[in-house]
């Protein structure tokens, strides 16, 4: 971000940047920077809090009126409200279909499909309330997401609408759509809109059938004789601290 600010300013465009990593701004020294003490992924601090966001935006924009250039780095002193973390003893309010830690692929994919249906009710409610969704970047319809992953787990290459996106990239976009669907469904439930990213990842990768399917897919990839399948399934991104599976 600091580099981009420098290049644009060099091209005659006044810039002001929000920074999440103060050390990077100190090193790159862009013209105007507001460092904010917020979680990575939340540069404006808090979702659904217009007043909080507005204050951050205004603080960043007001740096454009500071005369003491060419480098201004200001700290934003207001913390964002806390989110629920693993240490808080949080538990998902839904009763998800039970899944064995290891076992046959058939029951696992069946549990995954059932779970997707269960999530769908809350997801649809979330979309209705918010008027938007972040699911869909993969280009696949929601109904096709689980089938895509289950086909891969069965050792076959899924059919895709277009070949414009490399399959390795598509697999991760599909996986991200599924994670987003679960997250949007969960955070739509009463009192769950403050679940933190780490807690959500813990829940997804250790308690849901979807998470188990992702682990199974990665594990199966290393056993494939087909090099393409091996590359595709091996590329599936899982947080390093959770990569060993449930």
């Amino acid at each position: 971000m600091g580099g981009l600010a420098h290049y644009l300013e060099h091209a005659g465009i006044p810039t002001t940047s929000i920074s999440l990593i103060r050390e990077h701004s100190e090193r790159m020294r862009p013209p105007r920077t507001l460092w904010v003490p917020f979680e990575l992924g939340r540069p404006l601090g808090v979702p659904n809090d217009a007043a909080f966001q507005r204050a951050v935006v205004l603080a960043a924009l007001q740096l454009l009126e500071v005369e003491d250039g060419p480098v201004v780095l200001q700290d934003y002193a207001v913390e964002a409200p806390a989110v629920i973390t693993s240490a808080d003893g949080w538990a998902c309010p839904l009763n998800l279909p039970p899944v064995e830690a290891a076992g046959e692929i058939g029951p696992l994919t069946t549990a995954f499909q059932q779970e997707m249906q269960q999530m769908r009710s809350w997801y649809d409610l979330a979309v209705s309330r918010r008027g938007s969704t972040t699911v869909g970047a993969s280009g696949l319809h929601i109904e096709a997401l689980a089938d895509f992953i289950c086909t891969l787990l069965a050792g076959r290459i899924p059919q895709v609408p277009t070949a414009e996106i490399p399959l390795v990239r598509r697999v991760n976009l599909v996986a991200d759509d599924i994670r987003a669907l679960y997250a949007e469904a969960l955070t739509a439930q009463p009192g769950q809109d403050v679940v933190g990213a780490d807690q959500l990842a813990d829940w997804f990768y250790t308690e849901t059938a979807a998470g188990r399917v992702f682990h199974a897919l990665r594990a199966a990839g290393s056993n494939r004789e087909d090099a393409e399948l091996q590359a595709i399934t091996g590329s599936l991104a899982v947080p390093a601290r959770l990569a060993s599976g449930a």
């Binding site: 992924g41 480098v71 200001q74 976009l173 994670r179």
Partner: protein, 194 residues
């Protein structure tokens, strides 16, 4: 000059909170913690997991020989555009490739349901953006500030780059981007990371 200041909004330096325990270690029920508005969040390097901290600490950052500084009119007369590095784009647009240095155009009339993120890193929170696009792309906030007369206006076009891309990868297109911004009469860019 090198100016490093502390935000004056509350009159308290951010590091004044450094004596507090990170919220994940603090005692109390979840509901109590959620209501607490002054918990330490995880954007400070020392609060991040070791792997992530090392990665960010060691990340190469360019050092520039010059320090351009462009002045402009009063904030209330400026037209503001957002440039994000969250890998945002319209739902119908091409997903970003990892490490790509190109950008996507986000028209100012883009509906919130039409914006998706294809920066797929596992290293940052996505739930905030999933609930409210303004947490990463504060277009509604800019519109409000324009309606209140705090800024002169909102650009007709905004832009997004892919995250985790080296600045030098983006340099090739910044000249054309500047021309596009000039064409849109933009005289202030708000750069928003993820």
């Amino acid at each position: 000059m090198w100016l490093c200041t502390s935000a004056v909004r509350s009159g308290v330096r951010a590091d004044a909170f450094s004596g507090m325990l990170p919220h994940r270690w603090a005692a109390g029920s979840a509901s109590h913690q959620v209501q607490d508005q002054r918990k330490i969040s995880m954007a400070r390097l020392q609060d991040l997991p070791e792997g992530m901290r090392s990665y960010l600490t060691d990340l190469p950052c360019p050092v520039f020989a010059t320090q351009p500084w462009v002045r402009g009119p009063s904030l209330r007369d400026r037209k503001v555009a957002i440039i994000s590095t969250a890998g945002l784009h319209r739902r119908t647009d091409r997903p970003f490739a990892s490490g790509a240095g190109d950008y996507r155009i986000i028209p100012g009339d883009t509906a919130r349901g039409d914006l998706v993120m294809t920066h797929l890193s596992q290293n940052f929170d996505r739930t905030g953006f999933q609930q409210d696009w303004n947490v990463a792309f504060p277009l509604d906030r800019l519109r409000e500030l324009a309606a209140e007369g705090k800024i002169g206006g909102v650009a007709d076009y905004h832009y997004s780059f892919m995250g985790a891309t080296g600045p030098e990868q983006m340099q090739a297109v910044t000249g054309e981007l500047a021309r596009l911004l000039h064409g849109d009469a933009v005289d202030a860019v708000l750069l928003v990371p993820i």
